[in-house]
Amino acid sequence: SVHFNDPKYPQQWHLSPEGSYDLNSNDPDPMPHPDAENGNHHGTRCAGEIAAVPNNSFCAVGVAYGSRIAGIRVLDGPLTDSMEAVAFNTHYQINDIYSCSWGPDDDGKTVDGPHQLGKAALQHGVIAGRRGFGSIFVVASGNGGQHNDNCNYDGYANSIYTVTIGAVDEEGRMPFYAEECASMLAVTFSGGDKMLRSIVTTDWDLQKGTGCTEGHTGTSAAAPLAAGMIALMLQVRPCLTWRDVQHIIVFTATQYEDRRADWTTNEAGFSHSHQHGFGLLNAWRLVNAAKIWTSVPYLASYVSPVLKENKAIPLSPHSLEVLWNVSRTDLEMSGLKTLEHVAVTVSITHPRRGSLELKLFCPSGMMSLIGTPRSMDSDPNGFNDWTFSTVRCWGERAKGIYRLVIRDVGDETLQAGVLRQWQLTLYGSVWSPVDIRDRQRLLESAMSGKYLHDGFTLPCPPGLKIPEENGYTITPNTLKTLVLVGSFTIFWTMYYMLEIYLSQRNVASHRVCRSGPCHWPQRSQKAREEGTELESVPLCNSKDPDGVETESEGPPTTSELLAPDLLDPGAWDLSQDRSTLNCPHRHLAPDLLQGKEEQIC
C-alpha cells in the first residue's frame, strides 16, 4: 500500500510493505572512506538493507528506512580481543542494535568465538547498553555450509547474548552456503543459487558501479534484514529488553513447508529446525507482538557441578551417554521454571575432532544436535571447555533429566576419544508453561494489527541514564599533531632566545666607552612617572645635539629605544646600509625626541 520512487524498489522482493511501515525518514546515507582494496562496501550493502532512505530516487529502500545507521569499522585491520570489546560497546547508549555480519572462519575446522574481553563486552552490553534495556547483538550464523560447518562451533553464534540469524532463499530453502545449528533463533531472506534472486541494496563502490547491487548474498545479507525488523520493533516499543526481543522472535517466527527442514515441535508448542531456527522472521508479526509485549521476568540460571566422567567414546553405532538430573530443589534458589537457552560445556580429547557428534536431550525428550561431525576438522586437540548451546527447548520445563550422547563417527584406526568432563547450564525464567501458553494466545490476537495504530500504547519506561564512560579521547593523529606543534614552538622559542642572547653579546662587545666607565643615559623623570620606563640594553651610545658623544647614564627608556625590530633577523644583515643601522631612530615620531639628547649611533 506504500509507493516509493526508488528505481529498484520493485525488485526488492524481500521487503514486506505492511511490516516496514515507518513514521519518518530523514537520514542521509553515511558514506565510508575509500580504502586500498575498496573492501568496505560490505558495510554499505548491509547498511542499505537496513536504512536506505526512500523516495530519494536512488537505488532502493531499507527495511527500517526511518532508522539511523552507524558504521563501526573494525575488520579492516589487525583485530584483537580488546578491539572487539571496544567495538561491541562503542556508543552503546546511542546504538540500539549491533548487526554483525562477520565471525570466525567458516572453513569447517575452526572452533572460535569471543575471547575473555569480547565475552565481557557482550555481557556488559546486554546489562548496561541501550539505557539498561540491553544492546541487541545480531549475528550472521555463517557461510560454512559447503564444509558442513555448524554454527555451534562459533562462539558468537551460540552465545546466549546474541540473536543468531540464518539465511533462506526466496523459496524458503536453506542455501548451499548456510550452516545448521541448534542455537539458531530464526532465518530471513538472502540469495540462493544462480537461478534465484539475491538481495537488492545500496553498494558503495569507489572505482565503479552504480551505487546499487542486486547481488548481495550470504548470511551477511540476512542478518541486517533481521536487524532492520528488530529496529521496527523498537520503534513501536523502545523499552523491549534484549530478552524480550529474543522471546518475540521465538513466539512469532513462522514455520513453513520444507520437507528437508526436519521441523520438531517441542513441549511448549514451538517448532524448531536446525536449518531454520524457529522459522521465518515476519516483520508484521514481530511489530504487532512488540506493540503489546510486556517484559519477561528476570533471567534465571542454574549451573550444574563440573561432572567428571573420563569415559571412552565408542565408535558408531555405539555411543557414550551421560545424564544429569536437575531436581526441584536445584531450581528453588533461582526460581527457574521454564527454559530459554541450554548450554553444555565439554572437555573431550580425541585425535580427530571432526569425528565427534554430540546430542543433548532435554527432559521432554527434545533432541538438539549441538555438535555435528565435520570432515574438514582434523584437529587433534579435541574440545577444551568449549560451550555448545541450544534454543530448541525454549519454553519447556527446566526440571528433569538431561542426557548428553556422544558418538565417534570416525574410523577405528584412531585411538578412542575420552569425555573428560562436562557441565550443564540452564537459562530461563520463572514463567510457567501456563504463562507461556497465555502469551502465545495474546500474541495471536494481536496479529490482526488492531493494536498497531498509535492510539494503543502500553507504558514504556525511559530507561536509565548511563554515561558513556569514554572520556575525551585523543586520537593518535591529534596527539601527533599536538606533539609536532609543541616541538615547533619549542624550537622557535629556543632560536629567538639564542638570537637575543647573541645580539646582546654582540652589542655589548661593540660598545666603546671613551670617557671612563659606561653610564646609562639619564632616566627621564617623565618616563619614570608615567611608568613607561623599560629595562633594556642600550643599543647605541648617546650623543648630544652638537655632535659631542657622551655616554648614556643608565638603561634607556622606551622613548629612547624604539628601534625597528632589531630582533628581526634581517635587521642584523651586515650588508645593510650602516646609516640605517646607525640611526635607527630616524623614523621616530619627532615628539619622541624631546629629550635633551638626540640618540645617535
Binding site: 575488520l75 583485530l79 580481543d81 569514554n470 572520556g471
Partner: protein, 104 residues
C-alpha cells in the same frame, strides 16, 4: 592516551596485554584505577593505552613504539608476564593476539 584505548594506540606489530585490575573498592574513582594501570605499566616496561572500551577495570598495556626496535620481543614478553603474573592488583591478564575474523 589515558582512557583512550584506541586500536591505533598500540604501535603496529607491538606487543600488548589486557589486564583486569582489582579495584581497591568497588565503585572507587576511575582515576585510582587509571593510576594503578599507569603504575603497573611502568613496572612492566609498558605504556598504559587506557581503559578498554566501557569495561571498568580493564586496561590495555602496550609496548612503547620506541622500544619495539630496541628490545627483542621475547625479553619484553618475559618481563611483562613476570610483572603482571606477580602483581597483587592484577585479577587477570592476557597477551593480545590477532584474531582471524571474516566478513560473511
Amino acid at each position: 592516551l589515558a582512557g583512550t584505548h584506541r586500536p591505533g594506540a598500540q604501535g603496529p606489530g607491538g606487543l600488548s596485554w589486557a589486564v583486569h585490575l582489582d579495584s581497591l573498592e568497588d565503585g572507587g574513582p576511575e582515576e585510582t584505577l587509571e593510576q594503578q594501570a599507569d603504575a603497573l605499566a611502568r613496572a612492566a616496561g609498558l605504556l598504559n593505552a587506557g581503559r578498554i572500551g566501557e569495561l571498568r577495570g580493564y586496561y590495555l598495556l602496550v609496548q612503547p613504539v620506541g622500544q619495539q626496535q630496541g628490545q627483542p620481543a621475547e625479553a619484553v614478553r618475559r618481563q611483562a608476564e613476570a610483572v603482571l603474573a606477580g602483581h597483587e592488583a592484577v585479577r587477570w591478564h592476557s597477551e593480545q593476539r590477532l584474531l582471524k575474523r571474516a566478513k560473511r
